[in-house]
Each structure stands twice: as structure tokens, then as C-alpha cells.
């Protein structure tokens, strides 16, 4: 019978490779059998704590084997997991917990004090107090779930200050991972070097190729990415052969020309996504690695489960042309719609919309935002059919490939982090309540710029210190520009279009 739950895939893999290495992190490693045991122990604890199924369980842990075991434990218990960013300041964690209302939170000794600061009435499971000898509850409520039930909720930046919880079903992940495994020929021989945080949907691919195919997942310590030469050493030491990283990391290695001296002969598949890959830097990788390497440009927002359009780099690659985002994945359809909601012709720019089983169920506890972007397919006048409006502007070229142009709103991408400038603005105005300000993005320098109206100059240190209490580091502006008076439109609103032009010299 067709498998309908992620745990069924996991159990299948465990029975094929019980003693094979599943996970490696900074301090420990787990075989598939050991991972299953740990996950079931966690599931038992969840079921003791809550009666709920299909309800969120928040995972507040660093990027470790324990985090993955907690994801699986949550799925065994018939619930869906929502990872919290351990790097987020407490108020943002609190905002997410208040909006998602999880039935319990899994954490450890190190992160417990932060949760106590939030002062919430939610049950907490502390993994450091887990007793490995405890009896396992074998009722496994996942067996009551169907494939359209939620598996995880990932939070993305929202324009009003409250992150949106994107809810992804088992079916969407099953469809996606089977496609990836087939397209890139993934087996248990893959040694995956994970870079992306588990709060990013790019990590779905890394984690579930391990779970579906029995590949080994190496959770690369974050410090290796600060010092890329040590990252390449790590790859060699562990014979990593598959990577799916954000372009920023590949670009950094290319800028330092590290592959001239530090060869990585084991790497055979190089996938990237989350932001635009500059072709010059990709060219450096292609010239530096061996000839038979597969390069995949993977495009897709969290709302469609990872990837909806992809491009495998071939002989037509040209360093002077932007890299196509490519063609739709199997069982995914893409529509490019113009402002009249008509299908664009070849070469005509429009909004990329997606239909298929990859679509998220919606935003958790937010019907209004869900209904804004998950809408009826305007081309289908006969039956209800949802499409997701990505807000990305693209066009179709003569070769039948989609080319990415930019955004139609104030969302930006920095190192794969999806940031809504409105969210930054919301927090800045709440902390500095005496100033008027707008947040902009300098595309050439890839810097977030704050322009504020104030009589007196505010020291940059004051901004950064106060903002680091409420914003994640990647959301804190780099440049601070004081103006005596901000340009305003006739309605009294900040003239964003004008300021945006000035910053980007258009």
C-alpha cells in the first residue's frame, strides 16, 4: 500500500538499515535504530503530556541530533512540530508561541531559562531530564493521521510584526522528497552536509532524504561556515558527497578562491536555493570541481514545500547570463499571471503562482492572511481549485525556462533568510517610539538601511543594542541615515518609492 505518513517512511528505512549511521552532529552520532528509540521515547513523553493530535509541538533546541529526534517524536505522537530559532530574542519566541499556541514545548537545560522568561502556561518537556530506561508507549497516535494532516509549521517573517506559521502536510513532503530522490538519484550512499537552519524549509530536503532513503545527515557545526577553509576540511574528513546550501556560502568560498588550494573531491552533487545564485561565482565552482558534478538551482517558497521550479546546470551555462530558475517539478504546475489575472505570454513578466499537492494547508491560526495568497485559480471557472500567489515576478523565456526578476512587495532575501521589511519597521517603531522611520534595502550592497526622522542623531550603538533585544541579528539594519524631515506623499505617508530610488540610485 502507498505510504501516507512520514513515520511509515522512517520505519521502512529503520528496518532496512537499523545499524547504519543516520545522524552526526558536533557532539554525538546516532544509528537509525538509536534514532528511532530516542524518537519513541520523546513521543511517549508527548503523549503523557497532551491528549492532542494534529496540534503543534514547539521544538526549542539548537541544531542537533536531539532536534531531529524531537521532530520524529512529535510525528510519532500524531502531532506536527514547529521549530523555534534558538538565536531569536525572547520577545520574538514569545510572539511565535502566543500565535501558534503549541500543546507543549520540547527544550533542554540551556534554553529553559528563556522559556521561563516568557511566562507562558504551556507544558515543557526537558530532554535533559528524559529517562532512557522509561517504558515506551506503543500506541503511536500517528496511525490515526491521514496524509493531508499537518507535519510541520515553519515561521516566516510577516509584514505586521507577527511571523506567519506555514503549515505543511505529510502529503506535500512525501511528494517533494520522492521527486528529489528520483531526480538527483539519492540512495543510502549519500552523505549530506547540512548547512541550513531547521527553521528554513531548505532543511526539509536534507532531513527527509535521510529519513526516506537512509542517507547519513551531517549537521555541520555553524562555526565551520564562519571559517570556510575549516568547512572544506570538514567535508573531506567526513567524505560529504551531497550539499544543498544557500548561495551566500558558495559565493564566500568563490570570493576567497579557496577551491584553488583546498580540493573537495568527494562532493558530487551541489544544490543551492533560497536566494539568487550569481552565475560568476557558480562558474568558479564549475571550473574548480571535477567535470561530472551535478549542479541544481532550486527555487520555491516555504508555502509550496521547498522547491516548485528547478534548473539543472548543463552545457548551455553562461557566466554572463542570469541562471534560470528552470522548469516545474513533477506533479507541480506553475502559472505566470499578469495584472489582469491572465496567463502571460513568453517573455511577458508576471507573478509566479503554483498549483499542486505541494501547497501548504495555510497559515496557522490566520485565515485572513491565508485567504490573501491561497486563492481560487482565476483560470478555473468550473471547480474550486487553490493556487498560491508567491509575490515573485518572473517570465518564461524562449527555451521554456522561468527567469526570476524580483519581488512585487517589501520582502527581501539575505543569506536565504526571508525578511519582510515591514516586520523590521514594526519593531523599530515600537522600541523607538519618538521617531518616524522607514526600512529599505540597498540591493547593490545587500544592506538593510534605516532612514529616520529625528531632530537629534541617535548613535548607531543605541540602535543596535536595543534592536538586538527584539530582532534576530540578520534583521538588524546595517546603515542608519538621519533626515531632518522624511519626504512624504500627499496623504502624509513616507514616500517610500522616492527613498527607495535614492538608496538604489535608480
Amino acid at each position: 500500500m502507498r505510504k501516507i505518513n512520514l513515520i511509515e517512511y522512517f520505519e521502512n528505512t529503520v528496518s532496512s538499515f537499523p545499524d547504519k549511521l543516520a545522524l552526526v552532529d558536533n557532539t554525538s552520532q546516532l544509528s537509525f535504530g538509536e534514532l528511532k528509540l530516542k524518537a519513541q521515547l520523546i513521543a511517549t513523553k508527548i503523549s503523557e503530556t497532551t491528549e492532542a493530535i494534529n496540534s503543534p509541538v514547539a521544538i526549542y533546541l539548537p541544531k542537533t541530533n536531539d532536534a531531529i529526534a524531537s521532530f520524529l517524536g512529535t510525528l510519532y505522537s500524531g502531532n506536527c512540530y514547529t521549530p523555534l530559532d534558538p538565536k531569536n530574542p525572547v520577545p520574538r519566541i514569545q510572539a511565535i508561541l502566543n500565535a501558534s499556541k503549541p500543546s507543549c514545548i520540547i527544550t533542554n537545560n540551556a534554553f529553559l531559562p528563556n522559556l521561563e522568561k516568557c511566562n507562558l502556561d504551556i507544558d515543557i518537556i526537558n530532554l535533559d531530564k528524559l529517562n532512557p530506561g522509561e517504558d515506551i508507549d506503543e500506541s503511536y497516535k500517528y496511525k490515526n493521521c491521514i496524509d493531508t494532516d499537518p507535519a510541520y509549521i515553519l515561521h516566516t517573517s510577516g509584514s505586521t510584526g507577527v511571523p506567519k506559521g506555514v503549515v505543511i502536510s505529510h502529503l506535500s513532503i512525501i511528494d517533494y522528497i520522492n521527486w528529489v530522490a528520483e531526480t538527483f538519484d539519492i540512495t543510502e550512499k549519500e552523505k549530506i552536509g547540512n548547512q541550513t537552519p531547521f527553521i528554513f524549509d531548505m532543511s526539509t530536503l536534507d532531513i527527509y532524504l535521510m529519513i526516506f532513503k537512509g542517507a547519513t545527515l551531517y549537521i555541520i557545526p555553524e562555526q565551520k561556515f564562519i571559517f570556510p577553509a575549516t568547512l572544506l576540511d570538514y567535508i573531506n574528513e567526513n567524505k560529504i558527497n551531497f550539499i544543498f546550501w544557500v548561495p551566500a556560502v558558495l559565493v564566500n568560498i568563490a570570493n576567497l578562491r579557496l577551491l584553488d588550494t583546498n580540493k573537495i573531491p568527494t562532493v558530487k552533487k551541489v544544490l543551492f536555493g533560497g536566494e539568487v545564485m550569481p552565475p560568476k561565482h557558480l562558474g568558479y565552482w564549475i571550473k574548480s570541481l571535477e567535470k561530472n558534478i551535478v549542479y541544481g538551482n532550486m527555487y520555491g517558497p516555504t508555502e509550496i514545500t521547498g522547491t516548485c521550479v528547478y534548473h539543472i546546470v548543463d552545457d548551455s551555462f553562461d557566466e554572463n547570463e542570469s541562471l534560470p530558475i528552470g522548469i516545474p517539478c513533477r506533479n507541480t504546475d506553475v502559472l505566470v499571471l499578469n495584472e489582469k489575472d491572465e496567463l502571460c505570454k513568453v517573455g511577458e513578466k508576471g507573478e509566479l503562482c503554483v498549483r499542486g499537492s505541494s501547497l501548504a494547508l495555510g497559515y496557522w491560526n490566520n485565515f485572513e492572511k491565508t485567504n490573501n495568497v491561497f486563492v481560487q485559480n482565476p483560470l478555473n471557472k468550473s471547480v474550486p481549485e487553490r493556487i498560491y500567489r508567491t509575490g515573485d515576478i518572473v517570465f518564461l523565456n524562449e527555451k521554456g525556462e522561468y527567469i526570476y526578476i524580483g519581488r512585487k512587495d517589501f520582502q527581501i532575501k539575505l543569506s536565504g533568510y526571508r525578511i519582510d521589511l515591514g516586520e523590521i519597521e514594526h519593531y523599530i517603531l515600537s522600541v523607538f517610539d519618538t521617531i518616524n522611520a522607514g526600512v529599505f534595502f540597498d540591493r547593490a550592497k545587500e544592506q538593510i538601511v534605516l532612514i529616520y526622522e529625528s531632530e537629534e542623531e541617535i548613535p548607531v550603538k543605541d540602535f543596535r543594542l536595543k534592536l538586538s533585544e527584539v530582532l534576530s541579528k540578520h534583521m538588524i539594519p546595517t546603515r542608519y541615515v538621519k533626515m531632518d524631515v522624511l519626504p512624504k506623499s500627499t496623504t502624509g505617508k513616507i514616500d517610500r518609492a522616492l527613498l527607495n530610488k535614492q538608496i538604489n540610485n535608480i
Binding site: Q223, F225, I226, P228, T230, V249, R464, S468
Partner: protein, 69 residues
């Protein structure tokens, strides 16, 4: 460094990385500004934890790259 991350007192710390004061963005900007300021070109293989964990480590790296004491 105080330009990149003005909120920290770098002279007080003996390990910027362990204490989470600098991440990969910061190291990229720091290397770029050191290169520009001193007219040198720090090699990618020299961007290592021991050379960037303290003010002293960075000074040693600059000396190695021919910047006079």
C-alpha cells in the same frame, strides 16, 4: 570592528567567536575592511578561528601579512 558591531566591547573579550560576537557576515566584512585599510590581501586559508578570536590574534595576522607593528 566597533564599526561593524558597535554594541560589543571587543577589547574585553578573548574569544569573539565562542562568545557569539562575530558571525560569517561579520568576518567577511572585517576581512574586507582590513584588506582595504592596510592595503593587503588576507588569504582565504588564513581566515581561521585562531586568527580572529581576539584583538591579539588579528594583530598577529596583520604582522604576518607585512603590516608593521
Amino acid at each position: 570592528m566597533t564599526e561593524i558591531r558597535p554594541e560589543f566591547d571587543f577589547s574585553e573579550s578573548s574569544n569573539f567567536i565562542e562568545e557569539g560576537m562575530l558571525d560569517s557576515f561579520d568576518i567577511v566584512s572585517l576581512v574586507a575592511s582590513l584588506d582595504e585599510e592596510f592595503g593587503i590581501s588576507i588569504d582565504g586559508t588564513e581566515i581561521l578561528p585562531e586568527n580572529f578570536s581576539s584583538v591579539d590574534g588579528i594583530i598577529q595576522l596583520l604582522i604576518k601579512n607585512g603590516v608593521a607593528e
